[in-house]
């Protein structure tokens, strides 16, 4: 019967002048990007989502940026210089940069923008920019940031939403409504937004790097289902999509109309264990040996193969292999069920039971079930508690969990991957695990700019984590992008952002 309806419908739509192919015709000067979700508010001070950052990458220029090797490169700040004591960062502002409303971006404007992000009551950037004590306009082209104490990770904050410069003068009036008509200084300006449908950006012709941006318009389209997202880029109804599922890769690779790009993420995925947060810290995993047994029961390679088609990267620390801060000397222990059983017997709990809190998505659902099965072979009895994401973080913060599957998208500075999670005072340290050795290493690493020295400190902190196991790192995701074969090559950045700079249709 439905087939009948379908046939009738075909007849109805086979009217002259319309063919289904018309759907797939791309507009020549528009780049259409499929995102995993609808971004939240388009205000860098208030934004909280990763997909929001995707849009900001075209809409709002930062003071500095970093390339795919994670080296800092100039953006609105043409150059920068640390004072000898590390307590002042002097930024030279690019001349010729203007906001989308034509106002010049000078030191005073940058100061106003940073001050807005530092003081606005609803701002999510206040903690990130808290090390700044004072913003001083030296001259129209120079701004000095005076810090409370040396804080090297500041540069990375200035390369993220904290350093996105908005025209703060009109935003004072607009307040939190600024995001409805954001005025930044990026290569594209805000044109239109239809909630959950599209965000349209129009090229900003007065951008200082106008000749590097070849599309007149960039349109961001939320397409939540990963398989549907891929189908859309295959059908040509979008030109590029982010986050293809590893299991969809064979299909994408076969498709000769597509090009693929990937990068290992900056972040990590882990099982966090409640060791010290409220009554639930008194769980089966409170004995360090039990936690070791848990890790020994896990085969990261098989987990990767079963849950991610072997396409992700196994991991045992806050940094992925290849990251400048990865400590290759800290090796993961291979799976050893016999040793795990031995440890459990020694701890007097041959079959410990605990509940694993799992945020509800397909990937983590699969991971949790595989972990459950692996651990069972060593004697663990894991109950899975799957809840929606907002519930899971509420429970985690309240200490209402025994173990929790937690992922972090990662930050370019190593501090952003560790301090808030592992420092005794860290705001996202939900297991409330506290160790002075970790605190000392993390605090000291904030004051140093030498990569080798910092790497050593982070390795020290990681070594403590390996010994105490308040959390077990499992793997690092890869960002997979698929895009039209007619586009020039795109280089994926470990932060997963799509930078439109230089992209164009092949001639």
């Amino acid at each position: 019967m439905r087939r009948l309806a379908l046939a009738a419908a075909f007849l109805a739509f086979a009217a002259p002048g319309f063919t289904p192919q018309a759907v797939a015709q791309p507009a020549q000067n528009t780049l259409r990007i499929g995102l995993t979700a609808d971004p939240d508010v388009l205000d860098p001070a208030l934004g909280r989502t990763l997909v929001g950052r995707m849009v900001f990458a075209s809409l709002c220029d930062t003071l500095v940026d970093y390339n795919e090797k994670l080296e800092f490169v100039p953006r609105l700040a043409q150059s920068w210089e640390w004072s000898n004591d590390g307590r002042a960062l002097t930024l030279r502002i690019r001349s010729g940069a203007v906001f989308h409303d034509g106002t010049p971006v000078d030191a005073a404007a940058v100061k106003a923008s940073l001050d807005r992000a530092r003081t606005m009551p609803q701002s999510l950037r206040r903690s990130e920019l808290a090390p700044i004590a004072e913003t001083v306009v030296v001259d129209p082209g120079t701004l000095r940031l005076e810090l409370r104490s040396p804080f090297v990770p500041l540069l990375a904050q200035l390369a993220d939403r904290g350093g996105m410069i908005v025209n703060a003068k009109p935003s004072e009036a607009a307040g939190t409504e600024f995001g409805r008509q954001p005025i930044c200084a990026g290569p594209y300006r805000f044109a239109e937004r239809v909630a959950q449908d599209r965000i349209v950006l129009q090229r900003f012709d007065r951008h200082w790097e106008r000749d590097q941006y070849h599309f007149e318009r960039v349109v961001y389209l939320p397409i939540p289902d990963a398989t549907v997202r891929l189908a859309n880029v295959q059908a040509g109804s979008v030109d590029m999509v982010e986050r293809i599922l590893p299991t969809d890769l064979p299909n994408a690779r076969r498709d000769r109309r597509l090009k693929l790009a990937d990068a290992v993420e900056l972040g990590w995925n882990s099982i966090i264990i409640n060791t010290n947060n409220g009554p639930k810290a008194n769980n089966a995993l409170k004995d360090k040996r039990v936690r070791e047994a848990l890790e020994l029961s896990i085969d990261r390679e098989i987990l990767n193969r079963a849950a991610h088609a072997g396409e992700f990267v196994v991991g045992n620390q806050p940094f992925a292999p290849g990251n400048p801060y990865f400590a290759s000397e800290l090796r993961a222990q291979p799976r050893n069920v016999a040793r795990a059983r031995e440890l459990l017997r020694a701890a007097g709990t041959p079959s410990p039971a605990f509940t694993l809190l799992v945020p509800n998505d397909t990937e983590r659902n699969a991971v949790a079930q595989i972990l459950q099965q692996m651990a069972r072979e060593a004697g663990f009895d894991i109950r899975l508690q799957v809840v929606d994401f907002a519930t899971s973080i509420t429970m985690s913060q309240n200490g209402d969990f025994e173990a929790y599957l937690l992922s972090w998208s990662g930050r370019v500075d190593p501090d952003g991957n560790m301090h808030t999670f592992f420092h005794c005072q860290g705001s996202q340290n939900d297991s409330k695990f506290c160790d002075p050795r970790i605190d000392a290493a993390l605090d000291r690493a904030r004051t140093l700019s030498d990569v080798a020295e910092r790497r050593k400190l982070y390795a020290e902190a990681t070594a403590v984590l390996h010994d105490e196991r308040p959390r077990i790192f499992t793997y690092h995701r890869k960002w997979f992008f698929a895009y039209s074969g007619r586009l020039t090559d795109f280089t994926a950045n470990p932060d997963g952002m799509i930078r439109v700079r230089g992209l164009r249709w092949q001639q």
């Binding site: 439905r2 309806a5 319309f18 018309a22 909630a195 939540p224 189908a231 994401f389 913060q397």
Partner: protein, 315 residues
């Protein structure tokens, strides 16, 4: 008559209050709020969090929050999305055409397929055709819409490449493409209503066919098809149209999973995302508007019915 309708209208207000209270309380019972979600991606101290909650008005008591929202609604202000800071009314007005188009296409397909099939089944009562139509209708009722949607995407978008897998094209940009993109989801939505309309058409037709004047016309040898069209169908259609209106009202708010599967940016998607991101003003606003549509269409259906059938008024 007028008093009856006025009475019905007056009852809509307590109904809407019940709707908004139920939805509000359910949301408030969910763990966490919009501010909690912010901590997932930003380094926020407890003081930051408390300040943000206060700014968003989330630190007030539930009744206070509800009354603030209600007071806004009375003044025509549905509030601001906590997540995107967009005015809720604007967001809903953006979505309304999408949902309206989808529901319209679905109901037209349901009527276009369901009514003729119901007529056939009634005319050939007890025949193989009757059973076949009944079977097909029941199948339509029995297929979970999300699974049916996935299967259609697999067959017609992935394998045959006839349709875009998802998305939405505004009819004002490209009418043909817009209708085409919405066709699969409209069929999925229609599958359930086809069955409902078909069965009602069938029983209404059977009722009318038993009436004396139709029997007389048939006995007089008036050309069968003429009888069906001129007498029987016209009378049988009244309850069917009424039902269609009610189903249409239901479709306006109920296409959650179909929208999810086809990634259509309509009410359903907005609602589900709103629930999971704890965006209370969005959820409250959408449910209120959907409930208004539902009540309005029910009301229209009743009014039309009451106009035809005076016995209803007496009840």
């Amino acid at each position: 008559m007028g008093r009856y309708l006025l009475g019905r209208l007056a009852l809509a207000i307590p109904t809407l209050i019940v709707v908004s209270v139920v939805v509000f309380v359910l949301q408030k019972l969910l763990p966490g709020d919009a501010a909690t979600l912010m901590t997932a991606d930003a380094d926020l101290s407890a003081a930051d969090l408390a300040r943000i909650r206060a700014e968003l008005g989330l630190d007030r008591s539930w009744p206070a929050q509800y009354l603030v929202w209600m007071w806004g609604v009375i003044q025509g202000d549905l509030g601001t999305s906590l997540n995107t800071k967009l005015p809720v009314l604007d967001v809903i007005l953006d979505k309304l055409p999408v949902t309206f188009q989808l529901a319209t296409m679905a109901i037209l397909i349901s009527i276009g397929v369901g009514v003729p099939l119901g007529v056939i089944a009634a005319l050939r009562r007890g025949s193989a055709a009757d059973y076949a139509v009944n079977f097909a209708g029941l199948s339509g009722l029995s297929i979970p819409p999300f699974w049916f949607g996935i299967m259609l995407i697999l067959a017609f978008s992935v394998e045959l490449n006839w349709f875009p897998a998802s998305g939405y094209v505004s009819p004002f940009e490209d009418l043909g493409a817009s209708l085409w993109t919405m066709l699969l989801p409209a069929i999925v939505l229609a599958s359930e209503n086809i069955a409902i309309l078909m069965r009602h058409t069938r029983s209404a037709m059977l009722g009318v066919l038993k009436q004396d004047y139709v029997r007389t016309a048939r006995a007089k040898g008036v050309f069968e098809r003429l009888v069906v069209v001129r007498h029987a169908l016209r009378n049988a259609l009244i309850p069917v149209i009424t039902l269609g209106a009610i189903e249409f009202g239901r479709l306006l708010g109920g296409a959650v999973l179909t929208e999810q599967v086809f990634t259509i940016p309509g009410f359903g998607k907005l609602l589900v995302d709103g629930v999971f991101t704890r965006d209370y003003p969005i959820v409250q606003g959408v449910v209120l508007v959907a409930a208004c549509c539902y009540i309005a269409l029910n009301f229209l259906a009743d009014a039309a019915y009451a106009g035809v059938n005076p016995r209803i008024r007496a009840r």
